[in-house]
Symmetry: C2
Subunit: 199 residues, 2 copies
């Protein structure tokens, strides 16, 4: 449904002006140091306009975060099919971490993870329909079929547990000060997980 009326046209312009302004401000000053009033002032709009287009200050941010879905499908398409399942999973995990580091940054990730904890919000993180799950599950499922991966748990279940590991790593990245090499952390973690802790 392409934009039709003048009204819709103008509304869309307003929305995009807000979006651009907000992202620029977030990028310049960090999510927590930009107020909605500031966004509204800077984009010469109003609170009414802002909340007409976005559900919350975080929502605007989510818009950006969801671009990661695009990233996932591209990733899947560009990956050689014959790679071992383990390698695919590791590459995905590392790529995801690097993507978030570059695109959202620590501040952004922190804000996103905090928002997901807001009561009664259908946060994107816990949406098991998002592409991350689909991609991961396809890798795991293939790995189980080919006998590379243990089948003690279902592919769906393993997908949940693996994605949880990623969330845990990202959460720690957000709360720990000092050096924290996201890619190295997830890599070491997966190595451990694949090998197992026993003996």
């Amino acid at each position: 449904m392409v934009t039709k009326t003048l009204r819709q046209q103008k509304a869309l312009e307003t929305k995009q002006r807000i979006l651009r302004t907000a992202l620029a401000l977030f990028s310049a000053k960090g999510f927590d140091h930009v107020s909605v009033d500031e966004i509204v002032r800077e984009s010469a709009t109003s609170k009414g306009a802002f909340y007409g287009h976005f559900a919350s200050k975080y929502d605007i941010f989510l818009e950006k975060f969801k671009e990661i879905d695009q990233f996932y499908s591209e990733f899947q398409q560009n990956l050689p099919d014959e790679l071992p399942a383990e390698d695919k999973i590791r590459k995905l995990a590392i790529a995801q971490m690097m993507y978030l580091r570059e695109e959202l940054g620590r501040d952004g990730t922190r804000a996103l993870y905090a928002y997901a904890l807001t009561p009664s919000v259908d946060n994107y993180l816990s949406d098991t329909e998002r592409p991350l799950y689909a991609v991961l599950e396809s890798f795991i499922s293939a790995g189980q079929k080919s006998g590379e991966l243990a089948s003690t748990a279902s592919a769906k279940r393993l997908t949940m547990l693996l994605s949880r590991s990623m969330r845990g790593t990202l959460y720690d990245w957000a709360i720990f000060d000092g050096d924290f090499d996201l890619a190295a952390e997830i890599d070491e973690w997966l190595e451990l997980l694949f090998t197992g802790l026993r003996v």
Copy 2:
């Protein structure tokens, strides 16, 4: 330094009145549905008194959370020494989950994890000096010495990764609606981690 003057005595009473009132309200209505104004009103004190005694609304809550440290040391003392390292770790993890479920609840845990994401706050979660780390590390270290556990990573490192798993599980508990059996989740997770994913 035992309380000396009348002033100190009264101040302490005020503090405890606030604390009791706040915890009762949190327990009754959930952390997010209790305002500082309400605590102050209900305890017949003032904002000045509140923030004189507590750094933030979350701080008061942390006071309660830190009781878990007591729990850890008791746990360690009551555990048979000759138990395999793996069992000790699993029991600890499960006990911790049950403790949090009972004492903080999902709302409380959610609030705690959200607070830890507040920028520039020396959040308790990321304090590697807290007893959880010490207890876990002692189990892991013993397990490595006796040859039960892999020594590919240092005990300190494994402690971090294991505690991260717990944080990840608790985080997911907080963000996912519906059924989520904390104890079962961590148990299944540890089983996987000990065994490894390969073959």
